[in-house]
Symmetry: C3
Subunit: 343 residues, 3 copies
């Protein structure tokens, strides 16, 4: 694949400074770029890397135009990171083959399933009774779409996704391999030392423009639906419990766990490995640092943290041992204060 | 679907107060219930919600009978949460189609596998040589049952479950999509800066009435078997290492990890994201709070915790920085105490 | 299966003390061994267990030769744990059937895929255009090998593995069920309160002798490749973000998460549930304790830790509450110190 800078600057709606006929053959990071690479500078702190880069062209913001063009061609865009994102989308669209519409001969589509003629059903996939796969949607090979489930217009299920019975995903979504949408929520009534199953009668409802990572699980609701609103992005190995609601444009990194019935606002983020306990409310615009355990509701936007600071093992051992007596330390401090106050 | 209250109160063995001919069309939470919804009150703290609910009928305990019936129909049961669980089971049984017995034409069943005539083998499933699928068992589409594995009477593997070679699950089990039972345990002998594989020669033995969540992994034992006793419930994305034993009726929430050779007692619970290190013993009736790291054996029943308390980021940063000097603080406190004692 | 001690001592290149014609029928741990079991003693602290064991033969190191032979037959090897590992390999090779070469009739192999004649493609597997499965490689049933992907000589994909488009794994690898190699990295540019996708144009490159656990995810790089060097071992449910590099012979236990662009050295280890944040550098020979959150680069080999010490719930509550005021405690201590200094 290759592209002329003239073409790319037009695509990105940017100002080209340099030779419009220069061609690039890849997008790459500044460090490993060569004369046929287009790269980008999103943050001023990588300026030195840009200056040292052999990239044929860099995408930069207006403030960097002058310095960038001292070293070679540049495309100037108001938001260079966004321009880079759009460039990757265009590049991928040019270089990847679209799956052919129609149902692969090895797929199993039950009677009564609706497959739009422009949709593509991959090899060895299974579509159950009453399911609907809408226009332009793609099921990769070995996918599973359960009874009455709906795959929205233009949504792509990568190979080996499970979309369970009566679960729905909207338009332009992407679900990565191994994701399981619509397994039973974890609900049991304790009785006489054992657990009685609460059948999970709700579904999962997913909005438009949602992306769901590999091997991520989103459980169906107990009575009503588990909901991901528009624009939600989930990384790999994320667990979303039953009845959870995730607000529009929230994004969770890998290994995040959200327990049942937590309601999370819009534009929230959670770093990798964070745990959000059940039945909590988190307002819009809350940002949870990686590995934080959110154990109560959060009513105010902002950044919240709670990881144990790591250390070399010997230091950690001493501090951890002391931590187990922290309350006692406070009592001792208080006693000293009282004594000091008396003297 | 719909049901008369007379029918439901008989089913639940409860006392109906109200019109036996009233029909309900769904089970729902108190908040969103309407006149055709049956709901339940399991905990007195939701009393106000019940009183404000438009539910056609509520399931309540004897103590709530009088107050509940001031607002409309009620079914009085000794344990309303358990009654609710049973109601969901009945509802699901009425409203879901049972998969047909027999082997789907697209499934691959190797010669020498035993499939009971009442069992159902879903589309695109694979059953290896020497495996046995017993009476009434169900393999959803795209399942995998390895060589010599056994699926017990009435057990359901949801779509795309892997039950590895020589692994056995008992009766009435449920395994959710993406679960992998019987992958190799993580065993290597270090030698000259690299790792020599220890082949995992044991299996996995799972009792009756066990439920296993989506994308959960249960490794086979190194020499003997990994064991889940009767009634164990595992949520999604749980990791059970090789040689682990989980006692009867223990239940682990999502993202729990149990390292190899840990032995866990009966009726234990672990909250989401808890980690239990290897080679530990945990007695019966131990409850591990979410996100706790259990780093040594627990010999006494009770609740154990160990999550870092989260905070707004600025507060956390200050406390975390101080925590890294905690041992020094203790030394300084001790010095002050000595000095104070001398004066 | 059974084996004579003469045969096993030859195989292990060990010194047999005892009857060469004694046969064993299983490998087992010391505790449950019987007269037909061969067991091993890798660590002196299990000496009492060995002395009490009914094992027909034990593998021991030279220092244990005299005491071991007081109780029965022994095979003396310089590194008994390594000898045990090799014994399990031999045992598995004897007792397991090799999958037949060739493509199962139910598998789907696209035109233009290369399958070496000695390779085995399991039932219901899918191999895309331009993929290559090299000599002696094995795809278990229901695997997926994407466009242009490469499975190296002798590598085994267990049932239901996904190796994404343009991803490569070297020789003698093992990938366990449910693993997803080559899903998109989690990359988005924020714009106007929503997320613009950064298409992930890199691949995943995996060296030789790598083992990857069940349901583990390894994301493709954004622009360049995510890399696992030779001999890396990953347990189950591990998350490896895009652009990560894991150095040769590093090993990560279950539920470890490594965020994007972290570069980890050789011979590192991480215990279960550890989280390594993105864009960090970790040098060779670093060992991360289970459940530690690595939040900055590590420049010195050694052991690093950071789990909150767990406790009974009441003690934890008191200490956690105090921890939230730790910075204040330090201020109070400082005030006392000043006052004490003045007097």
């Amino acid at each position: 694949m290759q592209a002329r800078l003239a073409e790319l600057s037009r695509l990105l709606d940017g100002e080209l400074v340099g030779d419009p006929d220069l061609t690039v053959t890849r997008i790459g990071p500044l460090e490993t770029a060569d004369a046929h690479t287009i790269s980008f500078l999103a943050q001023p702190r990588y300026l030195a890397q840009m200056l040292a880069s052999a990239a044929g062209c860099v995408i930069v913001g207006p403030a960097m135009k002058d310095v960038a063009t001292t070293r070679g061609a540049a495309i100037v865009c108001p938001d260079p990171y966004l321009a880079f994102a759009r460039l990757t989308q265009w590049w991928a669209a040019q270089s990847r083959r679209a799956p052919p519409p129609g149902v692969h001969a090895s797929a199993v589509v039950e009677e009564g399933a609706f497959i739009h003629p422009t949709a593509s059903i991959g090899a060895l996939s299974y579509v159950a009774l009453g399911a609907a796969v809408q226009a332009g949607a793609v099921l990769g090979p070995q996918c599973h779409v359960g009874e009455g489930a709906v795959v929205g217009v233009g949504t792509v299920l990568k190979p080996r996704v499970v979309l369970g019975a009566a679960c729905r995903i909207g338009q332009r979504g992407i679900v990565h391999s191994g994701a399981v949408i619509g397994a039973d929520g974890f609900g049991f009534a304790p009785t006489e030392g054992r657990w009685e199953k609460i059948e999970q009668l709700g579904g999962v409802v997913i909005g438009d423009d949602v992306e769901i990572g590999a091997n991520t699980c989103i459980d169906r609701g107990a009575l009503e639906d588990t909901v991901l609103e528009d624009g939600v992005k989930l990384d790999n190995l994320v667990q979303i419990g039953h009845n959870v609601r995730v607000g529009a444009h929230s994004a969770f990194a890998g290994c995040v766990g959200v327990a049942g019935s937590a309601h999370i606002g819009r534009r929230c983020t959670a770093g990798g490995g964070a745990i959000i306990l059940g039945h909590l409310q988190i307002v819009d615009d809350v940002h949870i640092t990686a590995a934080t355990v959110v154990s109560r509701s959060i009513h105010k936007p902002g950044q919240y943290s709670g990881a144990f600071p790591f250390d070399d093992n010997a230091s950690w051992e001493k501090n951890a041992a002391t931590l187990r007596q922290l309350h006692t330390l406070r009592e001792r401090l208080r006693a000293l204060e009282r004594k000091s106050h008396e003297t």
